[in-house]
């Protein structure tokens, strides 16, 4: 226990790690707030700069960006009615009417405090639940890992946008891209076409930067002329009376956020939506009707989406399963540092787990500090014209991609993925399932084939094992239930 506390506090006592977490949170708030820039994009670009760093330093910076980015999305939702992130869409429903009423400062202040409470509850749940789940998952066999990866891939249903077929296509394309190179079990070449460059596989960080960064830059060129509106920002710090009044609602919606965030395929966006719906049902007498600037609506959405971050870390760290697009990219970041997130993480590298928890807590505190200060600087930075911002993103993407292997070929990969990503996005395909496929593809491949080899390629026995073992049975049932639920949701 004392050792866990020692690891937990590492980021707090080391000045450099403390600085990196604070810097990450600060940067995350601004990246999340600028419409067109996403946390996923920021973390993808960041991986390439930090891959050669010490793992603790890299994790400190990325945890900060993740936490800050989720919070930052709400700022522009309130000020400009443009959600900086999908999880802030619901925030805009009541946040923007509040700003129009001249209460932008108060809305930002209250949403910051409630985001902090939500984030804290999410982290406490992560601390309690992760060791229990991790111990349980030590009993997993290769077939269970296969089922877990399939469960993760089912996230595609939530990330597909308007068409499930397009989502499945992108996920399968991602799996195929993940298969390029030498087979890890037999060293046989797959999709290399005799090209030596391809035997090492697709540089997936370059692909991520292309799909999330360059593609988004091209999409944003269609919205170059959108001008931000200036807001009057005063009285940021909320009164204790106001915080106390909304605390019970905040605690309830934090619970919703954590649970929803921990489920595969659901993230901050769905958490905030469900929390908003819950707040609407239980609030008998809102300050003003919901949708017209009700503080209850703003608080519910903001607490839930920040609580969902801690929730999303639970399956990510204990099962190696991404909860959403950002955690999928975060798993990629852990891989690149030689860390295998999953059941063994807590037994083999407990220091990294507790260090991450400590960093998330610190980043959450930084949100409170940065959120309640520097608002004037903030309003200036988010008004940075896209005509300047977009070329800078391209240069940063080039620098980040080149930094991975000092290879210009990686830059070509990045650009190619960016162009493909642009057309996919414009035709209604979502690029997040591709990344999900690239990350989970190798895990599906290896665990499936190990499971098949363990039953000497006997197809009957292979399927029987899924039903005869209690863990496999639960996971198989979960796969089918999620599938069924997704088809039902699509029909309605």
């Amino acid at each position: 226990m004392s050792q866990a506390f020692e690891y937990f506090s590492m980021g707090w006592v080391d000045p450099y790690l403390f600085f990196l977490t604070a810097l990450g949170t600060f940067a995350g708030i601004y990246v999340g707030a600028i419409p067109g820039l996403s946390v996923t994009m920021a973390v993808s670009i960041l991986i390439s700069f930090t891959f050669a760093w010490d793992v603790n330093e890299a994790l400190a910076l990325m945890a900060g960006v993740f936490m800050g980015g989720v919070y930052g999305g709400s700022r522009t939702a309130i000020l400009l009615n443009i959600p900086g992130a999908p999880s802030a869409v619901v925030t805009a429903l009541d946040g923007y009417p509040l700003a129009k009423r001249g209460e932008a400062g108060s809305a930002i202040g209250l949403s910051t405090v409630m985001s902090f409470i939500g984030g804290l509850i999410g982290i406490i749940t992560l601390m309690i639940a992760a060791p229990i789940i991790s111990e349980f998952t030590l009993m997993f066999a290769p077939r269970d890992y296969f089922l877990l990866a399939i469960l993760g891939l089912l996230l595609v249903g939530a990330l597909s946008g308007e068409s499930l077929a397009k989502g499945i296509f992108c996920a399968a394309l991602g799996v195929t891209l993940g298969m390029i190179g030498l087979d890890p079990l037999t060293a046989e070449e797959r999709f290399t076409f005799g090209n030596l460059e391809l035997t090492g596989g697709v540089p997936y960080i370059a692909a991520m930067i292309g799909f999330f960064g360059i593609a988004e830059v091209f999409v944003q060129l269609h919205h170059l002329d959108i001008k931000p509106i200036r807001q009057n920002l005063e009285k940021i710090l909320p009164s204790w009376k106001l915080v106390k009044k909304y605390l019970p609602l905040s605690l309830q919606t934090s619970g919703i956020g954590v649970i929803v965030g921990a489920l595969p395929g659901t993230g901050g966006d769905i958490a905030s939506l469900l929390a908003y719906d819950h707040a609407k049902r239980i609030t008998k007498d809102p300050s003003v009707p919901f949708g017209e600037g009700a503080y209850e609506g703003l608080i519910a959405a903001e607490t839930a989406n920040n609580a969902a971050v801690g929730g999303a870390y639970i399956p990510m760290l204990t099962l190696g399963m991404p909860g959403d697009a950002v955690t999928a990219v975060m798993i990629g970041a852990l891989f690149i540092h030689g860390i295998q997130p999953g059941p063994l993480m807590l037994t083999e590298t407990p220091h990294l787990f507790w260090f991450t928890v400590g960093n998330l807590t610190l980043a959450n505190l930084c949100i409170l500090i940065f959120g309640l200060t520097g608002i004037k600087l903030f309003s200036k930075i988010v008004q940075c014209p896209k005509g300047i911002l977009l070329p800078i993103i391209v240069v940063l993407s080039v620098v980040g991609t080149y930094a991975i292997q000092n290879s210009v070929v990686d830059i070509y990969w990045m650009f190619g993925c960016g162009v493909l990503g642009y057309f996919l996005k414009m035709y209604g395909y979502q690029v997040a399932p591709i990344i999900l496929g690239i990350i989970l593809g190798p895990m599906i491949d290896v665990s499936y084939r190990r499971a098949a080899l363990s039953v000497q390629n006997d197809i009957g026995l292979f399927f029987w094992e899924f039903l005869s073992n209690p863990i496999s049975l639960i996971l198989t049932a979960s796969v089918f239930l999620i599938l069924l639920n997704q088809f039902r949701n699509r029909k309605t």
């Binding site: 077929a165 499945i168 079990l185």
Partner: protein
């Protein structure tokens, strides 16, 4: 007298069907290569998951083609909707930038790219574009090269 049913069909973005067909062709090609890895030799063969992925790609792209075929086209062209002049220009200079970065090095190529793209996108005149480009480049160089020690592409044109 029969009332005309209200059309609920979604409209097609210019070039959507061609794009869907291209993805279907890509799926066919991938399926062919996946099959050639190890065929159906055994359940645990290296080609099993690639074949399964290719099958999913084939089926889903076929569904998309069928669904797209039944929609009507929007009243705009591929050029105006998907590749407006500003995007074509920006994509072209981005491509030129990444192609010459190895020859000219990071500083010169990035400087030229930033200047040209800010001039075209921000439209505030060459002096502003020059000022912003130089400042941006200096900040990027100090942060990444000097502080983070990130290696940047070097010029090999004169080597």
């Amino acid at each position: 007298m029969t009332s005309q049913p209200k059309s609920t069909k979604r409209t097609q973005i210019p070039g959507e069907l061609v794009f869907a067909c291209l993805l279907l062709s890509l799926s066919l090609l991938i399926a062919f290569y996946a099959l050639s890895i190890s065929g159906f030799s055994s359940m645990s063969s290296p080609g099993s998951i690639p074949m399964l992925a290719a099958l999913f790609m084939l089926v889903s792209s076929l569904i998309t083609v069928i669904k797209t075929t039944g929609t009507t086209t929007k009243n705009s062209t591929f050029i105006t909707r998907l590749t407006p002049p500003i995007l074509l220009f920006f994509a072209s200079i981005s491509l030129t930038y990444i192609l010459v970065i190895d020859q000219l090095g990071f500083l010169i190529s990035s400087g030229l790219f930033l200047f040209a793209s800010i001039l075209a996108l921000y439209r505030q005149g060459p002096s502003i574009a020059m000022l912003v480009s130089i400042n941006t480049l200096a900040i990027i160089y100090i942060i990444f090269r000097l502080i983070f020690k990130v290696i940047l592409p070097e010029a090999n044109l004169w080597e």
